[in-house]
């Protein structure tokens, strides 16, 4: 058979792409320019769609193709275009200094990755009989790391739009976890989740726009009037 039909090759490619996804997530933590952040997110989602497609190919699970296609359409094309238009409208291009400075936050992201690996270890059942998902371990570690680093980014960043991006990368991590654990959830749930993500981003985009209009900045640390 050809080399691309060998399942070992498929597994290596998936592991490689998962590693790139992780690298892109760390790049997002270190990145200052909003437009670059959006593009890194688009690249990350593209890799995720590819991972989903590769899994679908090697495990003959056609319903994952649909999930991959939806990821591509929504997270690689539509949402980045939406957000870039928003950035153009608001005309704020750069992130301001985050709460924890960049080198330290990159190091913290590395630490969170290790935590993700440790958590994923507990899922590794080499003796599990009936589960067909054998890629659980590697990509699950990346997925949990994505989740943790996205969470960290939400706390660390001060611009509203970057917080939205962090939330979206968190959802990316969840998608990867679902794919690697159980080949994705039932199709109707996947469709629902995508629809939710889409509407959520649009809603938050509108909110970000209104915040920038009202407060003249996207800095969420200025939203401190309501206390007690």
């Amino acid at each position: 058979m050809y080399f691309y039909q060998d399942p070992q090759f498929g597994e290596r490619m998936i592991t490689l792409m998962a590693a790139f996804v992780l690298v892109l997530q760390i790049a997002m933590v270190a990145q200052r320019w909003l437009v670059t952040n959006i593009r890194v997110f688009a690249a990350q989602s593209f890799l995720l769609a590819s991972i989903a497609g590769t899994i679908a190919y090697y495990n003959h699970a056609p319903h994952i193709y649909i999930a991959a296609a939806m990821t591509f359409a929504v997270k690689v094309v539509f949402l980045p275009i939406l957000m870039e238009r928003l950035v153009a409208k608001i005309e704020i291009r750069q992130e301001i200094e985050p709460l924890i400075n960049v080198p330290l936050s990159v190091l913290i992201s590395g630490g969170l990755t290790m935590v993700g690996y440790v958590v994923a270890e507990s899922f590794y059942h080499p003796e599990a009989g009936t589960t067909p998902a054998t890629l659980g371990h590697n990509t699950l570690a990346v997925a949990i790391s994505l989740f943790l680093i996205g969470f960290f980014m939400m706390i660390n960043r001060r611009k509203a739009l970057t917080q939205v991006l962090a939330l979206l990368s968190l959802e990316n991590g969840l998608f990867l976890a679902a794919i690697s654990l159980t080949y994705g959830m039932p199709l109707i749930v996947e469709v629902g989740v995508f629809f939710d993500v889409l509407v959520a981003t649009m809603v938050m985009g509108i909110l970000v726009y209104r915040i920038s209009e009202t407060f003249d900045s996207m800095d969420v640390s200025k939203l401190r009037r309501l206390r007690g």
Binding site: V106, G110, Y117
Partner: protein, 313 residues
């Protein structure tokens, strides 16, 4: 015994001769990408010959360090050149050290260069030295982590062992740990050789210099030694990068055919890496000095991730 001696001499000559060529190739490629003609690939040789014949001018306040620095830079770089497999999988002096020796010899050279910069008594020298030390203190851990990753998968810190064990396995370079380590080491390469986006090797403004500021007061043969040493260091780091991660074509025996193949593939890989460096240089602008730690922190984390993933992937 004789073969080892011959191999050592041959590799030394190779290192000394090819390093200015590589510098020239990089400069010319960069010029061509920027729609200029460039100085030509042999220009570095011409520079070296010119400098070797020129009169030397030294500052009054210089001490023995001023004389020692160029020699140390050149010597350490040349010795490291003998420790790394270039054409043959077995580096000539491989018995004398592995990864750690490489890192620390390069560190020794850098140390003396920084001292030499301070010794000149000019403020720009001190400026360059402190910047260089900042960058290298962040780049060294990243480099070590990346190299240890590779060493782990070969179960040895001897670079020849690493190269030899890697030749047999196919698709090994697709493993995430290798890719991450390559990325980390690439960033370190850019930092250590003073390329954009860390430092501009062609700048004339003293306030933006890092490497150039340290050697501002050097002239004549000393400057020739330092420049040669710098280009040897660049060649060494590039060779380290390509031969530990992609050791295809390294010859394992002394037959003429495999040596020729080794030579050819080595030059080809050097060219590809030079193109990559030039692309990165052209596509980016020089970073502010205070942003460089961020880039190196990313390299460090990549190296750490590479190390962890050897255990887990």
């Amino acid at each position: 015994m004789i073969t080892t001696l011959l191999a050592a001499v041959f590799q030394l000559l190779l290192v000394l001769c090819i390093s200015p060529l590589i510098s020239g190739i990089i400069k010319t490629l960069k010029a061509r990408l920027q729609m200029r003609r460039g100085p030509g690939v042999l220009q570095s040789y011409r520079n070296l010959f010119k400098l070797l014949r020129k009169q030397m001018v030294m500052p009054d306040t210089a001490s023995w360090l001023f004389d020692a620095a160029p020699v140390m830079v050149f010597a350490t770089a040349a010795v490291v050149g003998l420790l790394i497999p270039m054409i043959t999988a077995q580096a000539p002096l491989s018995l004398f050290g592995g990864v750690l020796a490489v890192v620390y010899l390069l560190g020794l050279g850098r140390f003396f260069l920084a001292l030499g910069g301070l010794d000149t008594g000019s403020s720009f020298g001190g400026l360059g030295s402190s910047r260089e030390m900042t960058i290298s203190s962040l780049a060294e851990p990243a480099m070590m982590l990346a190299i240890f990753t590779v060493a782990l998968s070969a179960n040895s810190t001897n670079l020849s062992e690493v190269a030899r064990s890697a030749i047999g396995q196919s698709w090994r370079f697709l493993a995430p740990s290798q890719m991450l380590a390559f990325a980390a080491l690439f960033i370190v390469l850019i930092a250590e050789t003073g390329r954009i986006p860390v430092d501009n090797p062609a700048t004339h403004l003293e306030l933006t210099m890092i490497h150039e500021a340290m050697i501002l007061e050097y002239s004549g043969p000393y400057l020739a030694l330092i420049e040669w040493g710098a280009s040897i260091k660049q060649l060494i780091l590039m060779t380290l990068l390509i031969n530990t991660f992609y050791p295809f074509g390294l010859s394992t025996n002394w037959s003429g055919a495999s040596l020729a193949i080794g030579c050819g593939t080595y030059l080809l890989k050097l060219l590809i890496l030079s193109t990559l460096i030039v692309l990165v240089e052209t596509a980016n602008a020089k970073m502010r000095l205070f942003r460089v730690p961020e880039l190196l922190a990313v390299a460090f984390v990549l190296g750490a991730l590479a190390l962890i993933s050897t255990f887990l992937f």
